[in-house]
């Protein structure tokens, strides 16, 4: 078995949830959802979600 790829498996994620998935980030040029949390926002403010 190969290592996990960079493409999140969203087949069973309801379509309605996809616009509000906040633990994934979109690789915009390819439209590829990467499953790592975005590194740009670290140690996020805990008093908001």
């Amino acid at each position: 078995m190969m290592a996990p790829s960079k493409l999140a498996d969203l087949r069973d994620v309801p379509l309605a949830e996809l616009p509000i998935l906040s633990t994934v980030t979109l690789d915009e040029p390819l439209g590829r959802v990467i499953s790592d949390p975005p590194a740009a926002v670290r140690a996020a403010f805990s008093s908001a979600i």
Partner: protein, 815 residues
């Protein structure tokens, strides 16, 4: 009082990327656990109630300057309070427009508001939808749990108002719904709290430990020192057994950090702080939970009028939280769970006698909770954080690397494309609904189409999946996302509408996709569809060509009772849905009034073992960097059918190794306009999985070669969607044996992979026909492919997987 003693250091400067704007300093509730009003710091009493226009402007400019100076890709701004909705719609509108204006052309702006929800109404939501502001709400569980603390000053419950606000987000403005924040009270039943929150369908939950310090420790029972861990553990275990139906930030952060990843919250992990708070008077402050430590704890002594944000990054309090393990006390440094815990929330470490050089006052809870989760992870696989990834089997990877691939490899690649297209649909909808450059009318149609699509996804997923397999839906979605991103980055509003003349029509195509899926699923729905090239398009089915004199830019399409009714201007037509799906509907299938219209179905090329759609109607098929042929006549289609059947016979007989992957993965053939010089034309597109575009060549053998060669691009493109085979940032140029000039490594890899198949083609030809010309072609192609493989292998840019892939290619070409 004690402040961290960390000397300023130029080398330690890390940019800030998250800004909490205290847009209003008062609250309409009087929650007795609120750190803003009930804790040691009482600075709110001396602040202006709301941010002034001047503070708003200076704040937006300071953030934009900081983002530009540090080339930040994304800036997150949280509108906070007090209660931020008390600022009112006009002020909030001013704040978001100032921020968007200042950051346009600099970086992406992720806007959020966190509210108690009491005042949230449709007008606020319309404003947030217009500007793409996501909304988080505080609620502590069911009515009993929430009423324990979250009350008005006169003691009234706020529960009903909060539930109404959450319902509004869930039912009407779902794309804005960011999640729920729950402050723990161990007097509440954890499962009751969890289940009450789950019923509100949040995309995300977080559980906050109530703010406490060593001077003011949390409420505990005499018999235990880890009630908070026990309380959260009950929820964690249920969350796992329930299949993690919702993201829970605390648990996701622990799972992520246990595996070496990053935390999603400042309350855990070793990530550096990147956060600054801006108060209503323009003062810069550190994270506001510090108010629980001592009076004045968050202060920096700086403000938006006199100081750039770079100065804030040098503040000792900020620097102290960028030291990782080195910034923690010895007890924490020696702790086995330090990478997950990170010492806990900075505020919770405070003791008046020695400042922040302590473990968290919740240390025993954090150690127990993280250990429990770690033990569960070791005992059974738990996905982290919530989203699985696609995995290609090693046999399939090897089959692809050898050149031909196989049916199983194509099936796995196709499944991965399903995820990719679904994510793109979500991105188009989310960015379309929150893009300020998109009109309210277009947003209303987007919402209508999205409602139909999500209903189909729930109730008739097969019909939707069949539509989403169409290769040009990805091309369309990428086009939309790029346009939305480009429009958002333009430096001013001037001329924006003129510069994206096709954006509304492009976004309207979501309705066409929804209608086509509804027809396939046999369900009902009504959408607006843009008229493009004098036709109403239904992807995967065909198009209704209307009179060019027909008025109206959009058609209304009703799908109901097995019929598809199209209305445009004063005309209307009806088609039978089952005929559209089966493909038997012809030009005269429409029954209507007003002007005449003609249905043009998609046609299918058939040969034993394969069926391929001949796509000559889709408005987004023009993504192959070659001109599509216009709609084929019946006679032209018949020529294609004869040639395709003969070409497939040759592929099956002479190049059978390549037949399996083609049969499994080639779904669409898009006719190209003939080359002016009469040469062969063929093209694939990264954004059109399963499609090959080709001008009909002179003979079936050439078509067989062109299909085999170009389908390599389809296979490799889909593989590269999953795995990096080389460093995409490498901009070195390399020589390709078959073409003048130098090329990027990715282009050389694509060309080499195609040439590997061409080599195999001529290898088979020379063996079967003992044809001297074929033998020469084989030797020539093999020499060039060998040469290119060695260039790739010695490029220094291959990943380990890429090295494996090239090794398999080398082995294959030498056979």
């Amino acid at each position: 009082m004690s402040r961290p003693a960390v000397p300023p250091s130029e080398s330690a400067l890390a940019p800030l990327s998250q800004f909490v704007l205290k847009v209003h300093s008062r609250c309409d509730l009087a929650c007795d656990h609120c750190y803003v009003y009930e804790a040691a710091d009482q600075s709110w009493r001396g602040r202006p109630m709301a941010m002034s226009d001047e503070v708003i402007s200076r704040t937006a400019q300071r953030i934009a300057d900081h983002a530009a100076a540090h080339a930040l890709d994304t800036v997150q701004v949280v509108l906070h309070g007090g209660e931020p909705l008390l600022a009112g719609q006009a002020r909030l509108r001013r704040i978001v427009t100032e921020l968007q204006g200042a950051l346009r052309g600099i970086g992406r702006l992720d806007l959020r508001i966190h509210t108690n929800g009491v005042l949230l109404n449709e007008d606020f939501c319309e404003l947030f939808a217009e500007h793409g502001v996501k909304v988080g709400i505080s609620i502590d569980g069911d009515r009993a749990a929430n009423d324990r603390h979250r009350r008005y000053a006169d003691g009234r419950s706020s529960y009903d108002q909060v539930i109404r606000a959450i319902g509004l987000l869930h039912d009407r403005f779902r794309e804005l719904y960011a999640g729920l924040l729950c402050t723990i009270d161990i007097a509440n039943d954890p499962l009751a709290v969890y289940q009450s929150l789950i019923k509100l369908h949040p995309p995300r939950i977080d559980f906050l430990l109530p703010h406490a310090t060593w001077d003011h420790p949390p409420v505990r029972t005499p018999a235990s020192d880890s009630e908070y861990a026990d309380w959260l553990t009950v929820i964690f275990d249920r969350w796992v057994s329930d299949g993690q139906r919702v993201r829970i930030r605390t648990f996701d952060s622990i799972l992520s950090t246990l595996r070496g990843g990053t935390s999603l919250t400042e309350a855990l992990g070793l990530g550096p702080t990147a956060l600054a708070v801006i108060e209503t008077d323009g003062s810069y402050e550190q994270v506001d939970s510090l108010k629980a430590a001592f009076d004045g704890a968050p202060e920096t002594g700086m403000n938006v009028f006199d100081h750039a944000l770079d100065a804030v990054t040098q503040h000792p309090g900020i620097l102290a939280r960028q030291q990782g393990v080195a910034g923690l006390c010895r007890t924490c440094q020696d702790c086995p769970v330090v990478t997950s815990c990170g010492g806990g929330l900075y505020t919770h470490r405070h003791r008046s006698s020695n400042g922040f050089a302590n473990p968290s006052v919740y240390c025993t809870d954090l150690l127990k909770l993280i250990s429990h989760i770690g033990n569960r992870v070791r005992a059974e696989p738990i996905e982290s954080p919530g989203i699985r990834t696609h995995v290609l089997g090693s046999l399939q990877f090897r089959a692809l690397a050898a050149g031909p691939g196989d049916g199983a490899a194509m099936a796995q690649l196709a499944e991965a494309q399903r995820s990719l297209v679904r994510s793109l649909l979500g991105a188009v909808y989310q960015q379309g609904m929150t893009g300020p450059e998109v009109s309210a009318e277009v947003k209303a149609e987007l919402q209508r189409a999205w409602s139909l699509l999500t209903a189909l996804d729930r109730e008739r997923p097969e019909g939707l999946a069949a539509t989403l397999r169409h290769p040009y839906i990805r091309a369309w979605a990428i086009r939309c996302v790029r346009q939305l991103r480009a429009a958002a980055a333009w430096p001013s509003d001037a001329g924006r509408g003129r510069r994206v003349p096709g954006l509304a029509a492009d976004l309207g195509h979501l309705g066409a996709i929804a209608a086509a899926a509804a027809v396939r699923a046999g369900t009902s729905g009504t959408v607006q569809i843009p008229v493009l090239d004098d036709a109403v398009h239904l992807p995967t089915l065909g198009r209704l060509v209307v009179d060019p004199q027909e008025t109206g830019q959009t058609a209304t399409v009703d799908v109901a009772g097995g019929l598809v009714a199209v209305r445009l201007g004063g005309s209307g037509w009806t088609l039978a849905g089952t005929d559209l799906v089966s493909g038997v509907a012809g030009p005269d299938a429409t029954v209507g009034r007003g002007h005449a219209a003609s249905w043009q179905p998609l046609r299918t090329l058939c040969a034993p073992g394969i069926r391929v759609v001949l796509e000559d109607t889709d408005p987004y098929r023009d993504c192959h960097q070659r001109h599509p042929a216009p709609r084929l006549t019946d006679a032209e289609f018949a020529q294609w059918q004869r040639q395709f059947r003969a070409a497939w016979q040759e592929i099956e007989c002479e190049h059978s190794a390549y037949a399996a992957a083609l049969a499994a993965g080639l779904t669409t053939l898009m006719p190209l306009a003939a080359a002016t010089d009469g040469g062969d034309l063929v093209a694939a597109a990264r954004d059109a999985f399963g499609a090959v575009a080709v001008a009909r060549p002179a003979d079936p053998a050439t078509l067989a070669l062109l299909l085999i060669e170009e389908f390599q691009q389809v296979k490799l493109g889909a593989l590269l969607d999953l795995y990096d085979l080389f460093d995409p940032a490498d901009d070195h140029l390399f020589h390709a044996p078959w073409r003048e000039g130098k090329h990027l490594l990715g282009d050389l890899l694509q060309g080499t992979y195609a040439h590997l198949a061409v080599t195999d083609f001529w290898r088979a030809r020379q063996r079967l026909a003992a044809d001297p010309a074929a033998g020469q072609q084989f030797e020539h192609q093999r020499a060039q492919t060998r040469d290119a493989i060695e260039t790739l292998a010695t490029s220094g840019s291959l990943t380990p997987l890429g090295t494996w892939f090239i090794g398999e290619m080398r082995h294959s070409v030498e056979q």
